[in-house]
Symmetry: C2
Subunit: 456 residues, 2 copies
């Protein structure tokens, strides 16, 4: 009889696991059943803001592989609209509810992949079914939001609560849709994924396209009229709104895992080993936005929900389940985003992270340009480096600029991954041609300036 794997969650991590395992073991050897609560599998949640804005025209474009493809191409028994409601580790069974048919199924497993993703953080005021209030976590969330935008009465005034990646991307998307948008941020700056001195550049760009950014504002409640959201109550007054987007971040979706007794770590995610096995629970694996992982620079466990990690972790788990050997090496916190025409990249530790990890460091901001200064279209680029003192080891980097800025963070990410010092970095042989860089690339300019700040 074939071994049987149940996958809980049919998005990136779960389906990457299933596909990789299938590549190594055929159906006679490994039967795979995947339960997905929503209507879609293997989609790009990161693409939702671009579908909302209209840049991406069809929802289907965001779906990398639909359930039919998984069934046909990988022989995976995908069951959408099935919500797993319990995991019984002793009996090696999961219980799932058919959200459309209403029935309940019980399925045996030998191997379990828990890939339930993340859920939006909802403070008390957001625990509501009020019409017009949306998370942007799943493609179903996105569909509901699109419908709201297109339905009468058309919403005109949007409030985005929270200024993280999703918040700023959604604020921009809604401006592009012609709405008047207010972004509420508790802290002194939105985009706290970079240090405040870099985030200020983002704030300016967003204000430039008309987003009304209000900082130091705490939401206290929502107001309603005729069953629809009508405004947001804050510590600094009422803000009218006929659409509210929750961009307060996400947390690992662990309810089911906790109930089953899977171990959580200090970052709130499921604890896994390097092969993506749930620590101490034989035959049970986890991957994606529900797990926590090692930050290679701080050495601490972190929760970094991001499609690229989910895919890598799923691949690692799938190779192992398939009988191969692979490990997930951890993360260094690299992320890029487009905010209006501005590009933002970050990797490693921010100042606050470096402090929390106990490092002594210098941080330096260097101004440069994306191209040779004389080449048409040259625009400013700001690079911030954080380096350990006195070793000079790179701890973190942030870039804000116009074209060709965001992905330059990869150069720094690979340097960081390899634990380079800024001294060594000044020697790096990076590409130079006038359309692409000054003769000293912005990355090298920043490394030199950091060396100087270290007194050498």
């Amino acid at each position: 009889m074939a071994e049987r794997m149940i996958v809980v969650g049919g998005d990136a991590a779960g389906m990457a696991t299933a596909a990789q395992a299938r590549r190594r073991r055929d159906r006679r050897d490994l039967e795979i059943v995947a339960f997905e609560r929503g209507h879609f599998t293997s989609y790009s949640a990161c693409g939702i803001p671009y579908w909302i804005s209209g840049l991406v025209s069809d929802r289907e474009q965001l779906v990398a592989r639909d359930p039919a493809t998984h069934r046909k191409q990988f022989d995976i028994d995908v069951r959408i609209r099935h919500e797993v409601t319990a995991i019984d580790l002793d009996r090696r069974e999961v219980l799932a509810r058919d959200l459309d048919g209403g029935g309940e199924v019980r399925e045996r497993f030998d191997t379990l992949m828990y890939a339930a993703g993340a859920v939006p953080i909802k403070p008390d005021w957001a625990q509501t079914d009020m019409a017009g209030v949306f998370g942007v976590q799943t493609l179903d969330d996105g569909s509901a939001l699109r419908q709201w935008l297109d339905a009468e009465p058309r919403p005109r005034r949007a409030v985005v609560a929270g200024g993280g990646y999703i918040g700023v991307e959604m604020a921009e998307a809604l401006v592009l849709r012609g709405l008047s948008v207010t972004l509420l941020e508790r802290n002194e700056q939105p985009m706290s994924t970079v240090d405040p001195d870099m985030a200020r550049l983002v704030t300016e760009a967003m204000r430039g396209v008309g987003v009304d950014i209000r900082t130091g504002v705490r939401v206290t409640g929502l107001s309603e009229r005729d069953g629809r959201v009508h405004g947001v109550e804050t510590n600094s007054g009422h803000i009218p709104a006929d659409l509210v987007v929750l961009g307060l971040g996400v947390r690992p979706n662990t309810a089911l895992a906790e109930a089953a007794g899977l171990p959580l770590g200090p970052a709130g995610g499921i604890r896994v080993d390097r092969r993506m096995r749930v620590t101490g629970v034989p035959g049970v694996w986890a991957a994606g936005d529900c797990v926590e992982t090692l930050h290679r620079v701080s050495g601490m466990p972190v929760h970094v929900p991001l499609g690229t990690h989910a895919n890598k972790q799923g691949r690692v788990a799938g190779i192992n389940i398939g009988g191969g050997y692979a490990t997930f090496a951890g993360v260094i916190g690299t992320a890029v985003t487009k905010v209006c025409d501005l590009e933002v990249g970050r990797t490693g530790l921010r100042e606050r992270d470096a402090l929390a990890a106990g490092f002594e460091f210098v941080s330096v901001i260097a101004e440069s340009t994306n191209r040779a200064g004389y080449y048409p279209g040259a625009r400013p680029m700001t690079v911030k480096l954080i380096a350990e003192r006195p070793s000079g080891r790179l701890l973190g980097a942030q870039i804000v600029g116009w074209s060709e800025a965001a992905k330059r963070i990869d150069t720094l990410a690979v340097a960081l991954w390899n634990e380079m010092t800024v001294d060594d970095m000044t020697a790096l042989d990076l590409g130079y041609a006038p359309p692409y860089a000054p003769v000293w690339d912005p990355v090298l300019v920043a490394a030199r300036k950091t060396m100087a700040a270290l007194g050498r």
Copy 2:
């Protein structure tokens, strides 16, 4: 009495040396005299094609620091239009001719920086003063070519001999100027700086904008009418031309150095140690396009004339001359170029280099896109990796694509610099967001495909 440094050559390497040395030692301690044969100092030779095309409007934009600035800001006695004609190591003197005044000066030195750059390779047929035949090595070359383009009778038919970086960039520039352009290449493809399978993509793009590329063609002579170039003779017939650009590469400008007894290495450049001291010749330094340097991957000496190395080497030499300590770490052959709308990047060894260095390797070409496939403007990107067998160590990489392709080579360059294996590279935490990359970055896609080719 102050120590005295003579700089031979007032471009990137020489003036970077002078400026760095000055930062650490003032005039009372170190007197600096710089001789430059041309009219300009510290200019971007790499920018000449963009000035020729008209993308850059003024020649002065290409000059980072003019002689007056060097004099005023760094207290450097810059003498333009002075050609050093002899170096006497025993008497510690140089002899220089004033190319305008006609006089000859003799100057004593304690320290000599030889930074005479490179000269265009000129086969017998190119050893000519025929009007309308140009190298593109110095800003004076560029000025002469611009004058030719603007003078009557206006040239209409250009032949570019040689399809290296300068050749392809000049071919494009002349097309932009409205000329009919033929590019002659001896080998099967121009852009031999990348492997032929990648160069083919460049050839197609250039043909797309109307460059008549003829491969397997060897120039045998030039024909003349009324003292002006009138055509190019080749092994496959006569090609009419009223403008000929030499793009046959450059060699280190070592005539003077050889006459003085400075040692040359196997790559034809001046031999220097890690601090940029000429090997075995006390008090004499060299940097820039006239030296050879270590290729960190092949372990062999190479001649890589490029502004970015010249600047780094000059900085290293200047720090050392200034009393500090710095070393030049060598190169890995990173280069980027824009050919029409196509972006080309390379780093490390090509297949032929890897063979010559004695490596066993696999090479893999992976097709991907610069953005998430559904994001507007997503375009193909082709990444080639060359990896040692069986270790998987990255030996070289090439990228051809549209926007955001060229500088992605830096990610691979830093991986190569750190001697990463493709196995390790698949774990790299690179930036992901739909406007900038698919969820598996093209670099990671290529690393995975290379792992597969290595049988794992």
